[in-house]
Symmetry: C2
Subunit: 212 residues, 2 copies
DNA sequence: AGCATAGCCGAACACCCTTTAGGCTACGCC
DNA sequence: GGCGTAGCCTAAAGGGTGTTCGGCTATGCT
Protein backbone atom coordinates (compact mmCIF):
# COMPACT_ATOMS: atom_id res chain seq x y z
CA UNK A 1 0.00 0.00 0.00
CA UNK A 2 2.58 2.48 1.09
CA UNK A 3 5.43 1.60 -1.15
CA UNK A 4 8.49 0.11 0.32
CA UNK A 5 11.12 2.10 2.10
CA UNK A 6 8.88 3.65 4.71
CA UNK A 7 8.89 0.71 7.10
CA UNK A 8 9.09 0.79 10.81
CA UNK A 9 11.69 3.19 12.24
CA UNK A 10 10.27 2.33 15.63
CA UNK A 11 13.57 0.89 16.76
CA UNK A 12 16.20 1.88 19.26
CA UNK A 13 18.78 0.66 16.79
CA UNK A 14 20.35 3.06 14.34
CA UNK A 15 18.07 2.44 11.42
CA UNK A 16 18.88 4.18 8.18
CA UNK A 17 16.18 4.32 5.55
CA UNK A 18 16.38 1.21 3.45
CA UNK A 19 15.90 0.90 -0.26
CA UNK A 20 15.66 -2.37 -2.04
CA UNK A 21 18.95 -3.35 -3.66
CA UNK A 22 19.22 -3.15 -7.43
CA UNK A 23 18.97 -6.23 -9.59
CA UNK A 24 22.04 -8.39 -9.40
CA UNK A 25 23.01 -6.75 -6.10
CA UNK A 26 20.86 -9.03 -4.00
CA UNK A 27 23.87 -10.44 -2.19
CA UNK A 28 24.60 -7.07 -0.62
CA UNK A 29 21.82 -7.77 1.85
CA UNK A 30 23.56 -10.99 2.76
CA UNK A 31 26.65 -9.07 3.76
CA UNK A 32 24.60 -6.61 5.73
CA UNK A 33 22.92 -9.46 7.59
CA UNK A 34 26.24 -11.06 8.45
CA UNK A 35 27.67 -7.71 9.55
CA UNK A 36 24.74 -7.08 11.83
CA UNK A 37 24.86 -10.60 13.20
CA UNK A 38 28.54 -10.17 14.03
CA UNK A 39 27.89 -6.91 15.84
CA UNK A 40 25.03 -8.34 17.82
CA UNK A 41 26.84 -11.56 18.66
CA UNK A 42 29.69 -9.53 20.09
CA UNK A 43 27.26 -7.82 22.42
CA UNK A 44 25.21 -10.89 23.24
CA UNK A 45 28.21 -13.18 23.71
CA UNK A 46 25.95 -16.16 23.11
CA UNK A 47 24.79 -17.58 19.82
CA UNK A 48 21.50 -18.85 21.22
CA UNK A 49 20.52 -15.33 22.14
CA UNK A 50 20.79 -14.08 18.59
CA UNK A 51 17.30 -13.86 17.19
CA UNK A 52 16.54 -13.43 13.54
CA UNK A 53 13.87 -10.92 14.43
CA UNK A 54 16.37 -8.77 16.29
CA UNK A 55 18.84 -8.92 13.41
CA UNK A 56 16.07 -8.00 11.02
CA UNK A 57 14.87 -5.11 13.20
CA UNK A 58 18.37 -3.67 13.35
CA UNK A 59 18.89 -3.52 9.60
CA UNK A 60 15.85 -3.05 9.20
CA UNK A 61 14.22 -5.69 7.07
CA UNK A 62 11.57 -8.32 7.54
CA UNK A 63 12.75 -11.28 9.58
CA UNK A 64 11.73 -13.67 6.85
CA UNK A 65 14.03 -12.02 4.35
CA UNK A 66 16.94 -13.62 6.13
CA UNK A 67 15.72 -16.97 4.85
CA UNK A 68 16.46 -15.80 1.34
CA UNK A 69 20.16 -16.04 2.17
CA UNK A 70 20.44 -18.56 5.00
CA UNK A 71 18.56 -21.84 5.46
CA UNK A 72 18.24 -21.33 9.20
CA UNK A 73 19.58 -19.46 12.20
CA UNK A 74 22.55 -21.75 12.71
CA UNK A 75 23.77 -21.11 9.18
CA UNK A 76 23.76 -17.38 9.84
CA UNK A 77 25.71 -17.77 13.07
CA UNK A 78 28.20 -20.01 11.32
CA UNK A 79 28.66 -17.53 8.48
CA UNK A 80 29.22 -14.76 11.01
CA UNK A 81 31.80 -16.82 12.86
CA UNK A 82 33.61 -17.76 9.67
CA UNK A 83 33.99 -14.10 8.85
CA UNK A 84 35.28 -13.31 12.33
CA UNK A 85 37.77 -16.10 12.26
CA UNK A 86 39.06 -15.04 8.91
CA UNK A 87 39.65 -11.55 10.25
CA UNK A 88 41.32 -12.96 13.35
CA UNK A 89 43.75 -15.05 11.32
CA UNK A 90 44.50 -12.13 9.02
CA UNK A 91 45.32 -9.90 11.98
CA UNK A 92 47.71 -12.53 13.27
CA UNK A 93 49.36 -12.97 9.89
CA UNK A 94 49.87 -9.24 9.49
CA UNK A 95 51.33 -8.89 12.97
CA UNK A 96 53.68 -11.81 12.46
CA UNK A 97 54.86 -10.57 9.08
CA UNK A 98 56.28 -7.34 10.49
CA UNK A 99 58.56 -9.11 12.96
CA UNK A 100 62.30 -9.79 12.46
CA UNK A 101 62.47 -13.42 13.55
CA UNK A 102 60.31 -16.46 14.16
CA UNK A 103 60.12 -16.04 17.93
CA UNK A 104 59.01 -12.42 17.70
CA UNK A 105 56.61 -13.46 14.97
CA UNK A 106 55.00 -16.14 17.10
CA UNK A 107 54.72 -13.77 20.02
CA UNK A 108 53.23 -11.04 17.84
CA UNK A 109 50.72 -13.44 16.32
CA UNK A 110 49.48 -14.52 19.71
CA UNK A 111 49.44 -10.99 21.03
CA UNK A 112 47.30 -9.98 18.09
CA UNK A 113 44.91 -12.77 18.94
CA UNK A 114 44.87 -11.76 22.61
CA UNK A 115 44.22 -8.18 21.61
CA UNK A 116 41.38 -9.11 19.32
CA UNK A 117 39.80 -11.34 21.95
CA UNK A 118 39.93 -8.64 24.58
CA UNK A 119 38.32 -6.17 22.22
CA UNK A 120 35.67 -8.64 21.13
CA UNK A 121 35.01 -10.81 24.15
CA UNK A 122 31.55 -11.74 22.98
CA UNK A 123 32.77 -13.01 19.64
CA UNK A 124 35.54 -14.94 21.35
CA UNK A 125 32.97 -16.67 23.52
CA UNK A 126 30.77 -17.58 20.59
CA UNK A 127 33.81 -18.79 18.69
CA UNK A 128 34.98 -21.08 21.48
CA UNK A 129 32.16 -21.81 23.88
CA UNK A 130 28.92 -21.59 21.93
CA UNK A 131 26.23 -24.15 21.37
CA UNK A 132 26.60 -23.90 17.61
CA UNK A 133 30.21 -24.82 18.10
CA UNK A 134 29.16 -28.02 19.85
CA UNK A 135 26.32 -28.87 17.48
CA UNK A 136 27.91 -28.14 14.13
CA UNK A 137 31.60 -27.67 14.72
CA UNK A 138 33.71 -24.97 13.12
CA UNK A 139 36.18 -26.67 10.83
CA UNK A 140 37.69 -23.40 9.66
CA UNK A 141 39.27 -23.03 13.09
CA UNK A 142 41.96 -25.60 12.28
CA UNK A 143 43.87 -22.93 10.39
CA UNK A 144 44.67 -21.20 13.67
CA UNK A 145 46.18 -24.33 15.16
CA UNK A 146 48.25 -24.98 12.06
CA UNK A 147 49.64 -21.43 12.17
CA UNK A 148 50.74 -21.89 15.77
CA UNK A 149 52.40 -25.23 15.11
CA UNK A 150 54.23 -23.72 12.15
CA UNK A 151 55.33 -20.79 14.28
CA UNK A 152 56.71 -23.01 17.01
CA UNK A 153 58.43 -25.24 14.46
CA UNK A 154 60.04 -22.19 12.88
CA UNK A 155 61.40 -21.14 16.27
CA UNK A 156 62.91 -24.56 16.76
CA UNK A 157 64.38 -24.62 13.26
CA UNK A 158 65.95 -21.23 13.85
CA UNK A 159 67.43 -22.30 17.17
CA UNK A 160 65.26 -19.80 19.05
CA UNK A 161 63.63 -22.61 21.00
CA UNK A 162 65.00 -25.99 22.09
CA UNK A 163 64.19 -28.67 19.53
CA UNK A 164 61.35 -30.97 20.48
CA UNK A 165 57.78 -31.92 19.65
CA UNK A 166 56.57 -28.71 18.00
CA UNK A 167 52.98 -29.83 17.83
CA UNK A 168 52.86 -30.69 21.50
CA UNK A 169 54.48 -27.43 22.51
CA UNK A 170 52.13 -25.49 20.28
CA UNK A 171 49.07 -27.19 21.73
CA UNK A 172 50.24 -26.61 25.29
CA UNK A 173 50.79 -22.98 24.44
CA UNK A 174 47.40 -22.58 22.84
CA UNK A 175 45.80 -24.33 25.79
CA UNK A 176 47.35 -21.89 28.23
CA UNK A 177 46.51 -18.88 26.07
CA UNK A 178 42.94 -20.01 25.69
CA UNK A 179 42.70 -20.42 29.45
CA UNK A 180 44.12 -16.95 29.87
CA UNK A 181 41.58 -15.37 27.56
CA UNK A 182 38.66 -17.38 28.86
CA UNK A 183 39.38 -16.42 32.44
CA UNK A 184 39.74 -12.74 31.69
CA UNK A 185 36.58 -12.69 29.63
CA UNK A 186 34.45 -14.79 31.95
CA UNK A 187 35.67 -13.25 35.19
CA UNK A 188 36.68 -9.74 34.20
CA UNK A 189 36.57 -8.40 37.76
CA UNK A 190 39.24 -10.69 39.16
CA UNK A 191 42.80 -9.32 39.48
CA UNK A 192 44.51 -11.17 36.65
CA UNK A 193 48.23 -10.67 36.03
CA UNK A 194 49.18 -8.43 33.07
CA UNK A 195 48.45 -10.32 29.87
CA UNK A 196 51.79 -9.68 28.18
CA UNK A 197 53.79 -10.85 31.16
CA UNK A 198 51.73 -13.98 31.57
CA UNK A 199 52.05 -14.73 27.88
CA UNK A 200 55.83 -14.29 28.04
CA UNK A 201 55.96 -16.72 30.94
CA UNK A 202 54.02 -19.25 28.90
CA UNK A 203 56.28 -18.73 25.89
CA UNK A 204 59.36 -19.12 28.05
CA UNK A 205 58.27 -22.05 30.17
CA UNK A 206 56.12 -24.04 27.76
CA UNK A 207 57.97 -23.48 24.50
CA UNK A 208 61.38 -22.42 25.74
CA UNK A 209 61.49 -19.03 24.08
CA UNK A 210 63.30 -16.45 26.18
CA UNK A 211 61.72 -12.97 26.13
CA UNK A 212 63.52 -10.55 23.76
CA UNK B 1 -11.11 -31.63 42.44
CA UNK B 2 -9.09 -34.79 42.23
CA UNK B 3 -6.99 -34.47 45.31
CA UNK B 4 -3.34 -33.97 44.91
CA UNK B 5 -0.94 -36.73 44.03
CA UNK B 6 -2.61 -37.80 40.82
CA UNK B 7 -1.03 -35.13 38.65
CA UNK B 8 0.33 -35.55 35.22
CA UNK B 9 2.51 -38.63 34.67
CA UNK B 10 2.52 -37.64 31.06
CA UNK B 11 6.26 -37.03 31.13
CA UNK B 12 9.21 -38.79 29.61
CA UNK B 13 11.06 -38.07 32.84
CA UNK B 14 11.08 -40.65 35.60
CA UNK B 15 8.26 -39.24 37.63
CA UNK B 16 7.53 -40.99 40.89
CA UNK B 17 4.19 -40.27 42.47
CA UNK B 18 4.53 -37.19 44.53
CA UNK B 19 2.99 -36.59 47.89
CA UNK B 20 3.00 -33.26 49.58
CA UNK B 21 5.72 -33.04 52.24
CA UNK B 22 4.65 -33.13 55.87
CA UNK B 23 4.48 -29.98 57.93
CA UNK B 24 7.89 -28.68 58.83
CA UNK B 25 9.45 -30.68 55.97
CA UNK B 26 8.70 -28.06 53.37
CA UNK B 27 12.39 -27.52 52.69
CA UNK B 28 12.74 -31.03 51.31
CA UNK B 29 11.19 -29.77 48.09
CA UNK B 30 13.86 -27.12 47.93
CA UNK B 31 16.55 -29.80 47.90
CA UNK B 32 14.71 -31.75 45.26
CA UNK B 33 14.46 -28.65 43.09
CA UNK B 34 18.17 -27.96 43.40
CA UNK B 35 19.00 -31.60 42.67
CA UNK B 36 16.90 -31.56 39.55
CA UNK B 37 18.32 -28.24 38.43
CA UNK B 38 21.84 -29.62 38.82
CA UNK B 39 21.01 -32.69 36.75
CA UNK B 40 19.39 -30.66 34.02
CA UNK B 41 22.13 -28.04 33.94
CA UNK B 42 24.68 -30.78 33.41
CA UNK B 43 22.78 -31.91 30.34
CA UNK B 44 21.93 -28.46 29.06
CA UNK B 45 25.40 -27.02 29.70
CA UNK B 46 23.88 -23.54 29.66
CA UNK B 47 22.11 -21.76 32.44
CA UNK B 48 19.87 -19.78 30.10
CA UNK B 49 18.40 -22.97 28.78
CA UNK B 50 17.18 -24.11 32.17
CA UNK B 51 13.49 -23.36 32.34
CA UNK B 52 11.53 -23.41 35.55
CA UNK B 53 8.73 -25.19 33.77
CA UNK B 54 11.05 -27.98 32.70
CA UNK B 55 12.46 -28.37 36.21
CA UNK B 56 8.93 -28.50 37.56
CA UNK B 57 7.84 -31.08 35.00
CA UNK B 58 10.75 -33.33 35.90
CA UNK B 59 10.01 -33.46 39.62
CA UNK B 60 6.99 -33.18 39.03
CA UNK B 61 5.46 -30.14 40.64
CA UNK B 62 3.81 -26.97 39.46
CA UNK B 63 6.23 -24.45 38.04
CA UNK B 64 4.99 -21.82 40.41
CA UNK B 65 5.96 -23.88 43.44
CA UNK B 66 9.57 -23.09 42.73
CA UNK B 67 8.85 -19.50 43.71
CA UNK B 68 8.12 -20.70 47.23
CA UNK B 69 11.82 -21.40 47.61
CA UNK B 70 13.62 -19.13 45.14
CA UNK B 71 12.88 -15.52 44.26
CA UNK B 72 13.66 -16.06 40.58
CA UNK B 73 15.39 -18.31 38.10
CA UNK B 74 18.83 -16.86 38.67
CA UNK B 75 18.65 -17.65 42.37
CA UNK B 76 17.94 -21.29 41.57
CA UNK B 77 20.84 -21.53 39.15
CA UNK B 78 23.12 -19.92 41.70
CA UNK B 79 22.02 -22.32 44.43
CA UNK B 80 22.65 -25.24 42.09
CA UNK B 81 26.11 -23.99 41.25
CA UNK B 82 26.97 -23.39 44.90
CA UNK B 83 26.13 -27.00 45.64
CA UNK B 84 28.23 -28.23 42.72
CA UNK B 85 31.18 -26.17 43.72
CA UNK B 86 31.02 -27.38 47.28
CA UNK B 87 31.11 -30.97 46.02
CA UNK B 88 33.97 -30.14 43.70
CA UNK B 89 36.07 -28.66 46.48
CA UNK B 90 35.29 -31.56 48.79
CA UNK B 91 36.43 -34.06 46.15
CA UNK B 92 39.68 -32.18 45.82
CA UNK B 93 40.22 -32.03 49.57
CA UNK B 94 39.63 -35.74 49.95
CA UNK B 95 41.98 -36.60 47.12
CA UNK B 96 44.70 -34.34 48.47
CA UNK B 97 44.38 -35.69 51.99
CA UNK B 98 45.33 -39.24 50.98
CA UNK B 99 48.65 -38.18 49.46
CA UNK B 100 52.05 -38.44 51.17
CA UNK B 101 53.48 -35.02 50.34
CA UNK B 102 52.46 -31.56 49.20
CA UNK B 103 53.40 -32.09 45.57
CA UNK B 104 51.40 -35.28 45.26
CA UNK B 105 48.59 -33.57 47.12
CA UNK B 106 48.47 -30.65 44.69
CA UNK B 107 48.56 -33.00 41.75
CA UNK B 108 45.82 -35.17 43.19
CA UNK B 109 43.65 -32.17 43.94
CA UNK B 110 43.86 -30.94 40.39
CA UNK B 111 43.37 -34.40 38.96
CA UNK B 112 40.21 -34.72 41.02
CA UNK B 113 39.01 -31.46 39.56
CA UNK B 114 39.90 -32.59 36.04
CA UNK B 115 38.08 -35.83 36.62
CA UNK B 116 34.99 -34.12 37.91
CA UNK B 117 34.96 -31.68 35.01
CA UNK B 118 35.25 -34.44 32.46
CA UNK B 119 32.39 -36.32 34.06
CA UNK B 120 30.24 -33.20 34.34
CA UNK B 121 31.15 -31.07 31.36
CA UNK B 122 27.86 -29.24 31.38
CA UNK B 123 28.21 -28.20 34.99
CA UNK B 124 31.76 -27.09 34.33
CA UNK B 125 30.56 -24.85 31.54
CA UNK B 126 27.84 -23.30 33.65
CA UNK B 127 30.31 -22.82 36.47
CA UNK B 128 32.83 -21.01 34.30
CA UNK B 129 31.20 -19.69 31.17
CA UNK B 130 27.56 -19.02 31.95
CA UNK B 131 25.58 -15.84 31.74
CA UNK B 132 24.62 -16.01 35.39
CA UNK B 133 28.32 -16.05 36.11
CA UNK B 134 28.73 -12.77 34.29
CA UNK B 135 25.57 -11.14 35.64
CA UNK B 136 25.77 -12.11 39.29
CA UNK B 137 29.22 -13.52 39.91
CA UNK B 138 29.95 -16.60 41.97
CA UNK B 139 31.90 -15.48 45.01
CA UNK B 140 32.09 -18.98 46.46
CA UNK B 141 34.54 -19.87 43.73
CA UNK B 142 37.38 -18.03 45.46
CA UNK B 143 37.85 -21.02 47.73
CA UNK B 144 39.19 -23.04 44.84
CA UNK B 145 41.83 -20.45 44.04
CA UNK B 146 42.89 -20.21 47.67
CA UNK B 147 43.30 -23.99 47.85
CA UNK B 148 45.58 -23.98 44.82
CA UNK B 149 47.72 -21.13 46.13
CA UNK B 150 48.06 -22.95 49.46
CA UNK B 151 49.02 -26.14 47.67
CA UNK B 152 51.73 -24.45 45.62
CA UNK B 153 53.02 -22.61 48.68
CA UNK B 154 53.21 -25.90 50.57
CA UNK B 155 55.29 -27.39 47.77
CA UNK B 156 57.67 -24.47 47.93
CA UNK B 157 57.91 -24.63 51.71
CA UNK B 158 58.69 -28.36 51.52
CA UNK B 159 61.40 -27.81 48.93
CA UNK B 160 59.40 -29.75 46.32
CA UNK B 161 59.22 -26.72 44.06
CA UNK B 162 61.66 -23.83 43.64
CA UNK B 163 60.76 -20.94 45.90
CA UNK B 164 59.05 -18.03 44.18
CA UNK B 165 55.77 -16.20 43.87
CA UNK B 166 53.34 -18.92 44.89
CA UNK B 167 50.26 -16.94 43.94
CA UNK B 168 51.56 -16.22 40.47
CA UNK B 169 52.56 -19.83 39.90
CA UNK B 170 49.18 -21.02 41.16
CA UNK B 171 47.31 -18.67 38.87
CA UNK B 172 49.38 -19.65 35.87
CA UNK B 173 48.70 -23.28 36.69
CA UNK B 174 44.97 -22.76 37.08
CA UNK B 175 44.91 -20.78 33.86
CA UNK B 176 46.49 -23.63 31.96
CA UNK B 177 44.29 -26.25 33.58
CA UNK B 178 41.18 -24.24 32.84
CA UNK B 179 42.27 -23.94 29.23
CA UNK B 180 42.84 -27.68 29.14
CA UNK B 181 39.38 -28.46 30.43
CA UNK B 182 37.64 -25.84 28.35
CA UNK B 183 39.22 -27.10 25.15
CA UNK B 184 38.36 -30.71 25.83
CA UNK B 185 34.81 -29.87 26.75
CA UNK B 186 34.15 -27.40 23.97
CA UNK B 187 35.93 -29.35 21.23
CA UNK B 188 35.64 -32.95 22.33
CA UNK B 189 36.35 -34.37 18.88
CA UNK B 190 39.83 -32.90 18.49
CA UNK B 191 42.82 -35.13 19.30
CA UNK B 192 43.93 -33.66 22.61
CA UNK B 193 47.00 -35.06 24.38
CA UNK B 194 46.37 -37.33 27.39
CA UNK B 195 45.13 -35.17 30.25
CA UNK B 196 47.47 -36.57 32.90
CA UNK B 197 50.57 -36.05 30.79
CA UNK B 198 49.59 -32.53 29.86
CA UNK B 199 48.88 -31.73 33.49
CA UNK B 200 52.27 -33.11 34.54
CA UNK B 201 53.95 -30.90 31.95
CA UNK B 202 52.13 -27.88 33.36
CA UNK B 203 53.11 -28.83 36.90
CA UNK B 204 56.72 -29.31 35.88
CA UNK B 205 57.14 -26.29 33.65
CA UNK B 206 54.89 -23.73 35.31
CA UNK B 207 55.40 -24.61 38.97
CA UNK B 208 58.65 -26.54 38.85
CA UNK B 209 57.36 -29.78 40.32
CA UNK B 210 59.05 -32.83 38.79
CA UNK B 211 56.75 -35.81 38.17
CA UNK B 212 57.11 -38.53 40.86
C1' DA C 1 -13.71 -32.88 65.77
C1' DG C 2 -12.33 -28.38 64.49
C1' DC C 3 -9.52 -25.30 62.14
C1' DA C 4 -5.29 -22.44 61.20
C1' DT C 5 -1.89 -22.81 58.21
C1' DA C 6 2.07 -24.99 55.60
C1' DG C 7 2.44 -26.72 51.19
C1' DC C 8 1.33 -26.70 46.73
C1' DC C 9 -1.45 -25.82 42.32
C1' DG C 10 -4.00 -23.70 37.75
C1' DA C 11 -4.94 -20.17 34.95
C1' DA C 12 -3.56 -16.28 32.92
C1' DC C 13 -0.71 -12.19 31.54
C1' DA C 14 2.68 -10.57 28.67
C1' DC C 15 6.19 -11.45 26.36
C1' DC C 16 9.51 -13.88 23.18
C1' DC C 17 10.86 -16.97 19.29
C1' DT C 18 11.50 -19.88 14.33
C1' DT C 19 9.69 -21.09 10.19
C1' DT C 20 6.08 -21.60 6.32
C1' DA C 21 3.07 -19.81 2.67
C1' DG C 22 1.81 -16.80 -0.28
C1' DG C 23 1.92 -12.04 -2.32
C1' DC C 24 3.25 -7.33 -3.56
C1' DT C 25 6.65 -3.92 -6.12
C1' DA C 26 9.85 -1.79 -8.58
C1' DC C 27 13.93 -2.65 -11.55
C1' DG C 28 15.70 -2.98 -15.93
C1' DC C 29 15.83 -5.63 -20.25
C1' DC C 30 13.11 -5.79 -24.53
C1' DG D 1 6.01 1.42 -22.46
C1' DG D 2 5.36 -3.37 -21.22
C1' DC D 3 6.35 -7.17 -18.20
C1' DG D 4 9.15 -11.03 -16.14
C1' DT D 5 11.31 -11.67 -12.22
C1' DA D 6 14.61 -10.38 -8.32
C1' DG D 7 13.95 -8.61 -4.01
C1' DC D 8 11.53 -8.11 -0.22
C1' DC D 9 7.21 -8.19 2.51
C1' DT D 10 2.76 -9.42 5.67
C1' DA D 11 0.23 -12.79 8.06
C1' DA D 12 -0.10 -16.62 10.71
C1' DA D 13 0.88 -21.18 12.64
C1' DG D 14 2.67 -23.19 16.51
C1' DG D 15 5.60 -23.22 19.85
C1' DG D 16 8.32 -21.58 23.92
C1' DT D 17 9.21 -18.66 28.40
C1' DG D 18 9.16 -16.04 33.49
C1' DT D 19 6.23 -14.42 36.75
C1' DT D 20 1.82 -13.02 39.42
C1' DC D 21 -2.51 -13.97 41.66
C1' DG D 22 -5.72 -16.14 43.99
C1' DG D 23 -7.15 -20.52 45.76
C1' DC D 24 -7.41 -25.42 47.05
C1' DT D 25 -6.07 -29.36 50.43
C1' DA D 26 -4.09 -32.14 53.73
C1' DT D 27 -1.85 -31.89 58.10
C1' DG D 28 -1.34 -31.99 62.86
C1' DC D 29 -1.97 -29.18 67.07
C1' DT D 30 -5.67 -28.16 70.15
Amino acid sequence: MFGYAGKAMEDTETAAVRRRNARGQGDRLRDEIVDTAVRMLDELADDEKLSLRAVARAIPIAATSIYLHFPDRDALVLAAMARCHEELVRHGDEAAATQPDAAAGLRARILAQVDWAQRHPGLYKVLHESGVHRRLGMPFKEVMVARTVDGVQACMDAGLAPAGDARQAAIDLRTAVNGMLAQRINEPDLPWPPAREQLDRFLAKLVGISPR
